[in-house]
């Protein structure tokens, strides 16, 4: 299954607007995307299409995330999410 480890650039971390855009983006793809802190076991990953779950991770700016995608457009989904997380908040 394609997966990536990506650093969260927005200073606020994965809250509010960055989290909102993250969930929105994940939902645009057919692939099932799940996410967790770097090093999280498969069972500890949460659904990237749930705002509650994503916000509930409590990820701060500068921390790293493990993102796993499964499905036809998995790579495209990962590209989009990586680009989003690599953008400072004021440019989002």
């Amino acid at each position: 299954m394609p997966e990536r480890v990506v650093e969260v650039v927005p200073e606020e971390g994965l809250h509010a607007r960055p989290a909102s855009l993250f969930v929105e983006t994940a939902n645009e793809y057919d692939a099932e995307v799940s996410v967790g802190p770097e090093g999280a076991a498969d069972d500890d990953l949460v659904s990237a299409s749930s705002m509650l779950a994503v916000t509930g991770l409590g990820v701060a700016g500068g921390e790293k995330l493990r993102i796993v995608a499964e499905g036809g457009d998995a790579e495209a989904a990962l590209d989009a999410l990586e680009a989003l997380l690599s953008t400072p908040e004021d440019e989002l």
């Binding site: 606020e12 809250h15 509010a16 607007r17 659904s47 749930s50 705002m51 509650l52 509930g56």
Partner: protein
Amino acid sequence: MSERRLAGIDVTPLAGVGTVVWYRPDADLPEPPAPEDVDGEAEFAAFEAARDEAEAELDEERERTAERVGEDEAAVFDAHAQFLTDPQIADGVAERIDGGLPATHAVRETFDEFVEQFAGMEGKMAERADDLRDVRDRLLRILTDGERVDLSALPEGSVVFAERLTPSDTAQLDPERVAGFATVTGGRTSHAAIFARSLAIPAVVGVGEALNDVADGETVVVDGDAGEVVVDPDEDTVAAASEDATAPVREGAVETVDGTEIEVAANVGTPAELGPAAERGADGVGLFRTEFLFLDRDDAPDEDEQYAAYREAIETFPDGRVVVRTLDVGGDKPVPYLDLPAEENPFLGERGIRRSLGPDADLFETQLRALLRADADTDVGSLAVMLPLVATVEEIEAAETVLEGVVDDLRDEGVDAERPEFGVMIETPAAAFMADAFVPHVDFFSIGTNDLAQYVMAAERGNDAVADLGDFRQPAVLRAIDAAARAAEGTDVWVGMCGEMAGDPELTELLVGLGLTELSMSAVTVPAVKARVAEIDTEAATALAERALAAASKDEVTDLLT
């Protein structure tokens, strides 16, 4: 019956008077019916219908907020929409309906589970709990068919009381109809507070449980300037609150009858207050409290963030002066990253300039750099830097050395920095006594009457039992003001005042008589004070001041003023 004052946190420099309307969106739901009486399919359909309606409302409010307040504040509704349609919510509600609960109770329990989870987390996460409550209450309102107060259709002159107001609640308030709001919980930087300032609604938050004792239909004044809710207000209090809102705005400098120009400026706490201050005819900013940049956050603002705020202030008053007070915090303020020690008596402890020359020296230098860069990059307006809680000449000299070092550093970096106007607050008795020794070091004095009165009279500001002692009309307070004003007389040092005393039109003549040439106050009182200045004759004002200084009691002073 006499009026009662409930203290809270001041949010908007505006006062309003009106009738209490309690808004209790999370009022208890009726007992749920027995599980066997619940039609699960119908309840889930009701939930889905409510969810669709809530989504449509959020869309609409998002648009409205983007127009009225701004894109940044509107973004919160996107997050709400995502919580609303979150699969975990739908699953939780479906599960509970299967278990025999009606949609209302299923929604409440599902959301409350997540609210609790988020509320237990730190910092930013706790704010998400507010967002979830907001979405929960919206769904419950729709499900119970709006058996709640409709905030967008309140009678004119309503004062909304609530446990808390969510961004959605606040966005519905119509400033034309709502006279103000007050909440039990909440802080100065809560969403509700930001909305209130943007929409110019008088507001006090964080009043505490005492607010619950005020009933629907009572008359109250919400004084968002003093941070008070006045229940059963006296005629005078009502008149003052109403007058503030109606005095006509005067643009440009005002002079006394005999031609002495008096600068009437505004006290501001956040950049959001700058625009409204200019609209009320303030000539400039006489006190820009910079604490807002530092409070309620996890780390100190960097130089660029401060720069942006200061630059905005200077540019808002292209023809005026912006007096910025350097960071004034002590053991009574919540600034987690500063490691402020718990002190036995924080008002007499390490605060204000004492910290800036001690443990917060780095922050002080960063703040001065941001200020001087903002000044250098603006061709309009002018900047003045003011030190809080000064008591000795050595403190001024030490701060001056830091300031000069910053000017030199910036010039080395190619910034066209200049030494700004430099002054001190007169708020300790020591500063009033030693003002003549301060004169060679400064360009101005600004008398901070709230603290000066408290320190001169040894009477705590927030303590009603000693409020009479801490009154500005106490002759001892007037003599302290006079000491500073006399020290500056005949020199190039100008003397102003920031603090509540400066915003009371009944005291304007006395202050002009004492020799003050700048008065800075909450923006809301600027029009009334400007109108008063234009009626004053300085000779009569001087005579009034002389009589007040000779008075033996506060009552004598009060008699002279009426």
